[in-house]
């Protein structure tokens, strides 16, 4: 198990290296001129050249990448040009390892930018995750147990509705009606759990979390329902009934135990995808998370910021994959890691 984890971690790190190269290459291949954004509107050709040099964009891509990689491992200083650093030492920014670069748009290191916003995205993702798992699985199991009856049809219809309405629409409706027009809840805002306490943290997050969870919940209802129905046709469920076990044991123990395995895999990966930011939900509710940050980064061609966010999301997804695979081996005795 330990050797397996180590091997997976190693190959995951390798994958990240490759991904950083690819992201670099892609942006170089594109016709973007990040120095133009950094320099501003009234920028002379000379100033543009200076900015480019200051940012290090004048160097070959391999050198740029090597500096980036060194920064990740050992940290670095900005601006990149040594002459500039000596000319104005008061403007030098220290970027500790793992340094993901310096965002010219924000005038901050990518590391600081992300670490400021990550708690927002993570909080949002976790609360949404809890909501969709609990409600989605519960309703899915209920629908399966009452298959073909009114309750099942109702739940399936509900999931279809939740699935059909796009997040930006639902979020907008929630914000406009539930919060502003009817005043049922305060305007959603993120309050750090450490400062405001768990209650303010949770209530502030609730509306966006529901918005985010809704579409996932719909999917999980359908998936859980299908898994339960499929498992119920398994021979071992018939065996469990033939033993004389009460229905609640057959469902609650034998069926759910089998359904758990695919659900863990699926939910682990879904959660991982969200930890790196929920772009639409964060934008609607004006939450300063990684999702909103990435929108800005792309709009401003902020190359270091984009590379940083891409690598962060990739790292989360890779880590989630490893965790899910290892959990799989714990849940399913037939699975041998190796």
């Amino acid at each position: 198990m330990f050797a397996y984890a180590l091997r997976r971690l190693f190959s995951g790190a390798l994958l990240l290296v490759v991904m950083s190269m690819v992201t670099f290459l892609l942006f170089y291949a594109s016709s973007s001129t990040p120095e133009r954004y950094a320099c501003g509107q009234k920028c002379t050709a000379q100033q543009l050249e200076q900015t480019k040099a200051a940012l290090g964009y004048d160097e070959p891509i391999t050198t740029q990448w090597a500096k980036f990689a060194k920064g990740v491992v050992a940290g670095r200083e900005f601006p990149d040009d040594e002459a500039l650093r000596e000319a104005a030492p008061e403007l030098v920014t220290q970027c500790e390892a793992p340094c993901l670069g310096y965002s010219t748009g924000y005038g901050e290191t990518v590391r600081d930018l992300i670490s400021d916003r990550l708690p927002v995205s993570v909080s949002l993702a976790l609360v949404a995750f809890a909501l969709w798992i609990i409600i989605g699985v519960l309703l899915g199991v209920m629908a399966a147990l009452f298959k073909g009856r009114v309750l099942d049809r109702g739940i399936v219809a509900l999931s279809l509705i939740a699935f059909a309405f796009p997040t930006f629409f639902v979020g907008q409706i929630f914000l406009t009606y539930v919060s502003i027009r009817w005043g049922l809840v305060d305007t959603p805002r993120y309050s750090p759990i450490a400062e405001a306490g768990p209650w303010a943290w949770l209530t502030g997050l609730m509306l966006p979390a529901i918005t985010l969870a809704l579409v996932y919940m719909a999917g999980y209802i359908r998936i859980t329902r299908a898994f339960v129905l499929e498992t119920q046709t398994e021979d071992y469920i018939r065996t469990a009934r033939a033993k004389g076990l009460p229905q609640r044991t057959v469902i609650g123990k034998h069926t759910l135990r089998a359904v758990l395995t695919p659900l863990v895999t699926l939910s682990g990966l879904d959660l991982a995808g969200l930890l790196g930011g929920a772009i639409i939900t964060e934008s609607i509710f004006n939450f300063n998370g990684v999702g909103k940050l990435s929108v800005t980064a792309i709009a401003r061609f902020d190359l270091p910021l984009i590379v940083g966010i891409v690598l962060l999301v990739a790292a989360i997804v890779i880590a989630a994959n490893i965790i899910v695979d290892m959990l799989y081996a714990v849940i399913d005795p037939r699975v041998r890691l190796g």
Binding site: Y236, R238, A242, G244, L245, Q247, D332, P333
Partner: protein
């Protein structure tokens, strides 16, 4: 319809006391959007304590469905059940799900075809046997575990005190079926239904499992139903045989009688389809032409008539219009057949036997 489902007396019914299991005019119908599937339609048989009944027939003949009905596994499904299933005098079809649960696994237990899929992959073999025991016995986990080890030992699993903690996938196929049998017998059931217990196993392991079942039956004196399409298993294991076709019994009687003097063309077909390893190589394998009928829209008259090669020996269009009743044939009161042929024995001896077992005919001469 009522006349067609009536059947003769069960063979070898002893005096006044009723056999342990009596199935009378059992019907299991599944309403579907395409119509009613009559999986079992008017089935009657009985099994006494210590005796073994073999139920044979092709896939989809209603063998397994009828035994699932005995287990009460259709409670809560949309199946429509009719007739009676009496276990020790109690009609299980009238029981509530809760009462049925008390019977299931304790009085009547079942062994399934493929032990790999019939055992839960996520629980140890021991845990599954312990669970089966504790549903019906109010004992501690420790006591139940001891019982599980004892049962695993009894069914011939080596080092049972260690294997009890293994998962099903860590067992070989034969071992798994032994474990399944241990689970089936952990509560001393008076009726054991084995649904194709050896079909998924290697031939060499099959014999071991059948031996084990026979031993255990003697020890526990339980009634056993073996569902199979292997006539070798029937010959080896059973006292009585019921041949099923399209949800009905088509021939029923003592196994020896059925195998040596079959009176129904479908049974002839089954016998003709069995290869004989030590027998004459000139013996032919004659498959039954065609496929089993759809139970949604069963053929009129005798359900076997579209595949029957002896239809021309029956006068008129009796075979296609009238369902023959399951009644005693010409040989004995205990040998029931559902066929219009007037003298099937003569046809069997002169037409079928020389084809499938020439050496047997020679011997008799």
């Amino acid at each position: 319809m009522s006349a067609t489902t009536q059947s003769g007396p069960a063979p070898r019914q002893a005096g006044t006391s009723e056999p342990l299991l009596v199935v009378e005019d059992l019907k299991v119908h599944f309403p579907t959007s395409d119509g009613v599937v009559k999986a079992v339609d008017g089935l009657s048989y009985s099994v006494e304590r210590g005796k073994t009944l073999g139920i044979v027939g092709e896939s989809g003949s209603g063998k397994s469905v009828s035994s699932s009905a005995i287990m009460g596994l259709f409670h809560g499904s949309n199946a429509q059940l009719g007739g009676q299933i009496r276990v020790d005098g109690t009609d299980v079809l009238q029981l509530s799900e809760k009462e049925m649960r008390g019977l299931r696994g304790r009085e009547v237990s079942m062994i399934f075809q493929d032990p790999l899929s019939a055992l839960h992959p996520y629980y140890t073999v021991g845990a599954q046997i312990v669970e089966a025991y504790r549903v019906h016995h109010d004992v501690s986990k420790k006591v139940a575990r001891k019982r599980a080890i004892e049962m695993l030992d009894r069914v011939g699993i080596p080092q049972p005190d260690q294997r009890v903690d293994s998962y099903p996938h860590q067992f070989s196929g034969g071992m798994r079926q032994r474990a399944m049998i241990a689970m089936g017998l952990v509560n001393d059931p008076s009726l054991l239904i084995a649904d194709e217990p050896t079909t998924a196993l290697d031939v060499t392991v099959q014999a071991q499992i059948l031996d084990l079942l026979q031993d255990l039956q003697r020890e526990f004196n339980s009634a056993v139903i073996i569902i199979t399409h292997d006539l070798g298993v029937v010959a080896e294991m059973t006292d009585d045989t019921l041949v099923m076709y399209a949800g009905r019994g088509v021939e029923y009687g003592p196994t020896k009688e059925i195998l040596t003097h079959p009176e129904m063309p479908y049974t002839w077909g089954l016998l003709s389809s069995v290869p004989d390893v030590v027998g004459d190589t000139s013996a032919k394998l004659i498959p039954i032409p065609g496929n089993p009928p759809s139970l949604l829209n069963a053929p009129s008259g005798c359900a076997f008539h579209p595949r029957c090669t002896h239809r021309d020996k029956v006068p008129g269009d009796l075979c296609t219009t009238t369902l023959p009743e399951l009644v005693p044939g010409n040989r004995s009161m205990g040998h029931l057949k559902r066929c219009h042929l007037a003298d099937p024995e003569a046809i069997y001896q002169t037409e079928i036997l020389p084809e499938i077992a020439p050496d047997l005919v020679d011997e008799e001469r």
